[in-house]
């Protein structure tokens, strides 16, 4: 079991959850939204089951819950299946972050938005918010349609205390990806903290989402 929290605010909140529930597995923090780029999802909670050969055997995006009997049954069936000697497939996706490597790539490929985005995400994960903001800005200058770059820039600015600018950048990301519920909720969380703490008001979210969708439909 591996748990990943998509929290732009950093490790503090997810750490509280992990400690409260006494989890025995690692809880990772994805502040830059790396996983929603790699896995192409637009909301949480999600579950992905990967076998010992590194192959995805099950995935459910949005609405994953171990309280759902149908999901548990499917996972139990997969766990009961002997996998034998399936050769490990080459992994794809993003290479492990090392800022030095990312810096070299970004310098060697100054016109490549992906190289700038990789460097920006590495900075953000190391807590280097100012450097991250610079690199996300370069990525966005190179590819103005990149919702990942706009979202990451917003997160960097938020961590730097520039909330107004952060919200503007998150809104730009949401315009590029209007169905991305994670971006939308991050904006709400900052604009309406009272709807999230001490308890999350899901009824309010439904009403708010309908209102915003209606407004976006008219725009």
């Amino acid at each position: 079991m591996l748990s990943v929290a998509l929290d732009v605010g950093g490790a503090e909140k997810p750490r509280g959850f992990a400690e409260e529930f006494g989890v025995t597995f690692p809880t990772l923090v994805d502040a830059s939204g790396l996983l929603f780029r790699l896995y192409g999802f637009t909301a949480v909670p999600n579950g992905v089951y990967v076998d010992e050969a590194g192959i995805i055997r099950f995935q459910l995006f949005t609405g994953f819950s171990i309280d759902r009997e149908d999901i548990v049954a499917q996972l139990e069936m997969l766990l009961a299946t002997p996998t034998g000697t399936v050769p490990a497939a080459p992994t794809v996706g993003q290479q492990p972050f090392e800022i030095e490597v990312m810096l070299e790539q970004a310098a060697a490929h100054r016109d490549n938005p992906h190289a700038q985005l990789g460097l920006a995400e590495a900075y953000l994960q190391e807590g280097e918010s100012a450097h991250a903001a610079d690199a996300f800005t370069r990525a966005l200058d190179l590819d103005g349609e990149s919702a990942s770059a706009a979202f990451g820039l917003g997160t960097s600015l938020y961590q730097l205390g520039q909330t107004t600018e952060a919200l503007a950048s998150w809104r730009r990301a949401l315009r590029l990806e209007p169905d991305n519920f994670i971006i939308r909720k991050q904006i709400w969380r900052v604009e309406h903290p009272e709807k999230f703490y001490p308890t999350i008001d899901y009824d309010w979210q439904q009403v708010k989402l309908a209102e915003e969708k209606a407004a976006e439909g008219r725009a």
Partner: protein, 45 residues
């Protein structure tokens, strides 16, 4: 314009990544190679 996100399909290799945990320790997906993993993605909000 909406960006189309590519989603890895069942039966293909899971993408590699590396992220810090809540205590700052860095983990790589590769460390879990050879094990069965349920990857749970959530948010505290």
């Amino acid at each position: 314009m909406s960006v189309t996100l590519e989603r890895p399909e069942v039966g293909t290799a899971a993408p590699d990544f590396s992220l810090p945990d809540v205590y700052g320790k860095r983990w790589s997906w590769r460390e879990f190679q050879g094990k069965r993993v349920l990857l749970f993605m959530w948010a505290s909000w």
